[in-house]
């Protein structure tokens, strides 16, 4: 059964002024029209632009909406409107239930005071009553794992420790609507995993809006995404993979960079034997390497690795090393990987030339080519592995 709609945005827009002087002046005008109850000027004034334009969506209890887009696309502005900090210039936002916001962890902390005292401050700021704080106090300290340092001034905490304490407090909220901005970036891996476990616990009873630049996290939690571009919707839908891939598509970087060159070989070239570097899923992946040998006597080993859009290494194209003597001339090598089962997307290729396998680097080039894999199935994991249902018992 679908939960009830807790967050509803209808044609929400917000404008901002680019210059401070204008912004302040418009602020005064808005104040006057606000207080006198006159209609505000709804059109774009000089030096203004739409930071968010015509956004509409619904989030039900148990659902999570991911907001993605590059810096300055309008995500934070939209979050501020959803959180009720600023009002929209156009449109309406309706929110039902208790709102919890993980936008700024540890707001209201005072550096001089101890962690213990600051738990009260921050908890009060994010809306706890005194009874609630006292009831949850031990749970907060336990979750933060900072028992040892809880009576130390917060100014001596590391940024990670502050985030720990901040999240531990915020995690005690039992909201109907939860707004999460990129806040967990500082914690160590163990703590981030713990936070996500906590968020997982909240998901069934909460409508969540999640902003992140981490696509794996988006695809892990979200049931729908909105991709923002200059304040407007570029993609919106429940096909999270499609939205994420569209987001990745905005950052194609096709500049090679040579990191190391011992001048032992020259004219290094890497070519993908496919039209526009695009192969279909499960096709053979063929490529060639050519180079001119200057000083080597033996065929070097080419260590070819594939990186995904997050620039994470995902595969090494391994082949058996063969001991071949070479002369000082140009060589052309053909390679083939049968049945490429990477999922749809862009992959960049790095090549390291070693004198022998994993030994004595003589040449290294990053992003030498980009490989595009096309597939009918839009999917997020890196590999789409061909599998057969072999038996039905």
């Amino acid at each position: 059964m679908k939960g009830e709609v807790l967050i509803k945005a209808e044609n929400v827009s917000k404008k901002f002024a680019k210059s401070l002087k204008k912004s302040l002046y418009y602020g005064v005008l808005d104040l006057i029209s606000g207080i006198t109850g006159k209609d505000q000027n709804k059109t774009i004034r000089e030096d203004e632009f739409w930071a968010v334009k015509d956004i509409s969506f619904e989030v039900r209890r148990g659902e999570c909406l991911g907001l993605i887009g590059h810096n300055g696309a309008g995500k934070s502005t939209l979050l501020k409107m959803l959180n009720g900090l600023i009002g929209p210039d156009e449109g309406t936002i309706t929110i039902k239930g208790k709102i919890g916001a993980l936008i700024e962890l540890g707001a209201g902390f005072n550096p001089i005071l101890t962690g213990r005292e600051n738990i009260y401050n921050n908890a009060a700021v994010i809306g706890f009553s005194k009874q609630e704080i006292e009831a949850k106090f031990e749970a907060i300290i336990a979750f933060s794992e900072l028992e040892e340092f809880i009576d130390m001034p917060v100014q001596n905490y590391s940024s990670g420790m502050k985030v720990r304490l901040g999240f531990a407090i915020a995690a005690q909220m039992e909201p109907d609507v939860l707004i999460i901005d990129e806040v967990l970036a500082v914690g160590d891996l163990g703590f981030v995993l713990k936070c996500f476990k906590q968020i997982d616990k909240l998901i069934p009873n909460t409508a969540i809006i999640f902003v992140s630049h981490s696509m794996p996290m988006i695809s892990r939690i979200c049931s729908q995404v909105i991709l923002l571009e200059r304040g407007r919707v570029d993609f919106q839908g429940i096909d999270v993979a499609k939205g994420v891939n569209k987001y990745y598509g905005k950052f194609t970087n096709n500049t090679q960079s040579i990191l190391l060159d011992d001048k032992v070989i020259e004219d290094f070239e890497f070519k993908i034997e496919a039209d526009k570097n695009t192969i279909n899923w499960n096709d053979d992946f063929k490529f060639t390497i050519s180079f001119v040998n200057l000083k080597l006597t033996k065929m070097p080993y080419f260590s070819i690795s594939l990186f995904d859009k997050e620039n994470k290494p995902i595969a090494l194209m391994y082949y058996k090393e063969k001991s071949i003597l070479i002369e000082k001339r140009k060589y052309l090598l053909d390679f083939c990987h049968k049945k490429m089962q990477l999922s749809r997307g862009v992959y960049s290729i790095n090549v390291t030339v070693n004198q022998s396998f994993n030994n004595n680097i003589i040449y290294r080039i990053n992003n030498v080519q980009q490989l595009f894999v096309d597939s009918e199935i839009e999917d997020l994991p890196t590999f789409l592995l061909e599998t057969y249902l072999t038996k039905l018992n």
Binding site: I35, G87, T94, N110
Partner: protein
Amino acid sequence: MSNKDIAKLETRIYSNSNKYSIRQLLRDSLKGYKSSFYLAKQLAKRDITSQHRQSIFGIFWVILPVLMNALVWIFLQSSGTINLTATAIPYPLFVLIGTTVWSIFGECLNMPIGTINGNRGIITKINFEKEALITLGFIKIGFNLLIKLGMILFFILYFQVVPTVSIVLFFPFLLLMMLFFISVGIIISPIGILYNDISRFIPIALQLLMYITPVLYVVPKSGLMQKIMSLNPLSYIITDIRNTLTAMPIENGIFWLFFLLVTLFLSLIAMVVYRVSMPIITERMSA
């Protein structure tokens, strides 16, 4: 969750509509003050403890400025450097009460802009009842007030002034004055947050104003200063508040009645202005 429970969920609607009903706003504002009281108390505790934890003399710094200012004038008067009209009560007491009340008045006027600016970090990030900031400022002023009153009490005892029944009017008068200036402070705060010209101008204006108010000397019997001071409503406030503490009769009963009405009206306006302007200011603070 049944449909009945859903209906119970608090619904918030954010839109660009400028149409508001004053009654609704006032009701929301009162609700805001009430529900955010614990937060305000907690933040006040935070500010006061952190301020004094990093200091050796602690609360002494609250009375030092007042005391210094008074000492200068006591010295000028007693050494005969300046010649002032004689006061009905010992001059040091006269000056001390005058400067203390004046400092409270200044704190009240500056408080809304100061507290809002001091808490920008949470205003632009967290949605809470912004009325908490006013309560917060009020509690902090109240804390300083207690220390200053302690000092005055000490001098009243020292000069053996025995207050009369009129002392019961001291707190109502003082609170009324505070309410008046906090309201004025709130009404100017939206512009004062956007442009810092206002917060720079206030101290200068206050300094000037002090010399045309009977803070350091009594209203002369005649002359230009007498005319100016009689036009300055602050004269009546300071004089009568001082009178309630020093067994002197209240001079301006009618004025206080009028002042009460004006203050009540102003504080209602302040509540409306504050509620309407906070989202607009937040937007310009974080933009």
